[in-house]
């Protein structure tokens, strides 16, 4: 068991992927000389050289599209988009090409591409750098959407993703990069298909993913002091969704709170809520509740940013309302 930060875990996963397979290469803005916007590829340029660690111009649409082309051409590209906010410039390539080509070509072409990007708020970088749009991506058939919340997943999901035949999108919560976690050596390959129960409990299911996992766990600790035993589910994979694990949990606890850092309207939390209704309506003792971001562009000052985002105390309150 060793301690490492989420950033080190991503870096270690990237390095391992690059070492294992000569077809893997990393491309994106400032992944080389700069060492990665979040320092996830520091030192790689020296270790792997400029052919495999490619600094790109600021051309999100084209370097994501080039990743698609390179994947079609037999490579295993890992494309880093600085943050989800900038990925919107590449959305056409992602949706209309990466996600569509296999089906539209009648199964002739598949796109083994991994795209990583930072997501989320909490660092006082204001409205154009704080979006949580992974739920939008989860809307798209044909791609896999991952939200690693632990160091094990940050490293291991990447290693599994580069072996996938189809596009995989990995959303790394920017707030987590400096978080330390425990790392077990010689772990088995990390799956990218199942949700995980991070804390078993019997009174209520807290269903979440990404950066909000730690807020949900903090809330569960608080709730325990009040004698409420919360189960915390980490979805890990937004698409394809492991609804089975969600329904199993809800059938046990009979109550669910979904925590999602995206805006409430049209959020992924809404999707989870709908699927619980479809699959476990008669097991519920209370309506499904949601704790999401306020419907505002995320503001800069700390007190306002905090107020805009899901927080442990908001989750605790939501649980108390359900149990009333």
């Amino acid at each position: 068991m060793t301690k490492m930060t989420y950033r080190e875990a991503v870096r270690s996963g990237l390095r391992e992927a690059l070492r294992r397979d000569p077809r893997v290469f990393l491309m994106g803005e400032d992944v080389g000389r700069y060492g990665g916007t979040y320092a996830c590829s520091k030192g790689f340029l020296d270790e792997f050289g400029p052919e495999r660690i490619r600094d790109t111009p600021l051309s999100e649409s084209t370097f994501v599209g080039a990743g698609i082309g390179a994947a079609l051409g037999g490579m295993r590209p890992i494309v880093e988009v600085m943050t989800v906010n900038f990925s919107l410039l590449a959305l056409d390539q992602i949706l209309n090409n990466a996600a569509t080509l296999r089906h539209m070509s009648g199964g002739q072409f598949n796109v083994p591409l991994v795209v990583r990007m930072a997501t989320g708020a909490g660092r006082q970088v204001a409205a154009q750098h704080s979006h949580s749009l992974e739920g939008w991506y989860a809307h798209i058939p044909g791609i896999t959407v991952l939200t690693p919340a632990t160091v094990t997943d940050a490293r291991g999901m990447l290693l599994t993703a580069v072996q996938e035949p189809d596009p995989v999108f990995i959303f790394e919560h920017a707030y987590l990069y400096s978080m330390e976690g425990e790392w077990e050596d010689n772990q088995p390959a990390v799956d990218i298909s199942r949700a995980a129960v991070r804390r078993p409990g019997k009174d209520v299911s807290l269903i979440t993913f990404g950066g909000s996992l730690w807020k949900a766990l903090a809330a569960a600790t608080d709730l325990a002091q009040a004698g409420i035993d919360a189960e915390v589910l980490d979805l890990r994979v937004l698409r394809p969704l492991d609804i089975g694990t969600i329904l199993t949990s809800v059938r046990k606890t009979h109550r669910a709170v979904v925590i999602d850092e995206a805006w409430r309207t049209g959020s992924f939390a809404a999707e989870i809520s709908a699927q619980i209704m479809e699959g476990a309506f008669f097991d519920l003792d209370a309506p499904v509740a949601r704790v999401c971001s306020e419907e505002v562009p995320i503001p800069y000052p700390k007190h306002l940013e905090d107020a805009a985002l899901p927080q442990p105390d908001k989750i605790v309150k939501a649980v108390h309302r359900l149990l009333k």
Partner: protein, 326 residues
């Protein structure tokens, strides 16, 4: 026009142009008959570009094209049967009928679409070429697009990246002077498209796209440069679409006179005349060519008519390789 043209080669170029022309004329009829639906963008008038350029690519090279790609796929070698079946939406189509007219795909000919987002193919072509370069292959990726694509950011991003990384991409711009109803001069501050390559330190050339031999000569020269490691190159073919943008449009944006002026330069008719003057084509030759094409089309239509539909239970097939979404 060059003089070293052999009869066989000349007749073959004419044959390819006429294959495209007749295939599309038939497709237009089938559209009226309700056999083909959705969008159908005809290439009629522009055949010299595909017929003159596509055969210069090797089997190992890759082609990325647009929604106006019937001619490119035909000349590339996908069987007319599979293309016609695709127009019908039948399971025997070159994309299992899922794409229709705008989305021809053929892995066996390295034909990557059939992409209908204007300029969306350019980044993909850059990536295909990157894969070749990284794997030490000397293949070229040919990327076709219209003048309309030049207004998109991806055109500029892709030319820049391809030039920056010296990638083996040949950018082939089919300038038919209109993006739907918007004339080139109404969408470009600098209507000289080839000149735009200068901004990316890339070589370029302007080509008479109504002259199949000019297309062949210029494309061959450019392709040599790209294949020999000189980096990407931009060709601008000046050509003209004789028909509506898709099956129907009122053509309010251009005059009959303008269309007729261009029709006088019809690439099939002018080349036919050229071959006749050079004594490389006689009536019998032309009849034989036309007869072969007619029967190829009849066989293709019969094939498409008889072909089965993809079963509805296969609707979700190939959304992803592992089918976890199902």
């Amino acid at each position: 026009m060059t003089t070293s043209l052999t009869g066989n080669h000349g007749r073959d170029l004419l044959r390819q142009m006429l294959r495209i022309r007749r295939f599309e004329e038939r497709a237009a009829e089938l559209y009226q008959l309700g056999k083909i639906h959705g969008f159908l963008h005809l290439y009629i008038g522009e055949e010299a570009v595909a017929a003159g350029s596509i055969p210069l690519f090797t089997n190992e090279d890759a082609i990325v094209a647009t929604y106006r790609e019937h001619g490119h796929a035909l000349v590339r070698g996908t069987s007319m049967d599979h293309l016609m079946a695709e127009l019908y939406g039948k399971a025997a189509g070159c994309a299992r009928g899922r794409g229709g007219s705008m989305h021809f795909f053929d892995a066996s000919h390295r034909f990557y679409g059939g992409l209908a987002i204007v300029a969306g193919g350019l980044p993909v072509a850059v990536g295909l070429a990157l894969a070749d370069k990284m794997q030490g292959r000397t293949r070229v990726t040919g990327c076709y697009f219209g003048d309309g694509a030049v207004a998109e950011g991806e055109f500029h991003e892709s030319l820049n990246l391809a030039a920056l990384w010296k990638l083996p991409v040949l950018f082939l711009c089919e300038n038919n002077f209109y993006a739907m109803g918007t004339a080139l001069a109404r969408h470009q501050s600098q209507p000289d498209i080839a000149a735009k390559a200068n901004a990316y330190a890339m070589g370029s050339d302007t080509v008479d796209g109504m002259d199949v031999l000019a297309v062949e000569t210029a494309t061959s020269r450019a392709l040599d440069l790209v294949r020999n490691g000189h980096g990407p190159y931009l060709l601008e073919y000046r050509t003209y679409r004789f028909r509506a943008h898709s099956m129907y449009d009122a053509e309010l944006y251009r005059t009959k006179e303008e269309v007729n002026d261009w029709k006088r330069r019809d690439p099939t008719a002018t080349f036919e005349q050229h071959l006749r003057h050079a004594q490389l084509l006689c009536d019998d030759d032309l009849q034989a060519i036309e007869a072969l094409i007619t029967s190829e089309i009849e066989v293709a239509v019969a094939f498409a008519e008889a072909a089965p539909w993809e079963p509805v239970q296969d609707l979700n097939k190939d959304v992803s390789t592992r089918q976890r979404d199902a």
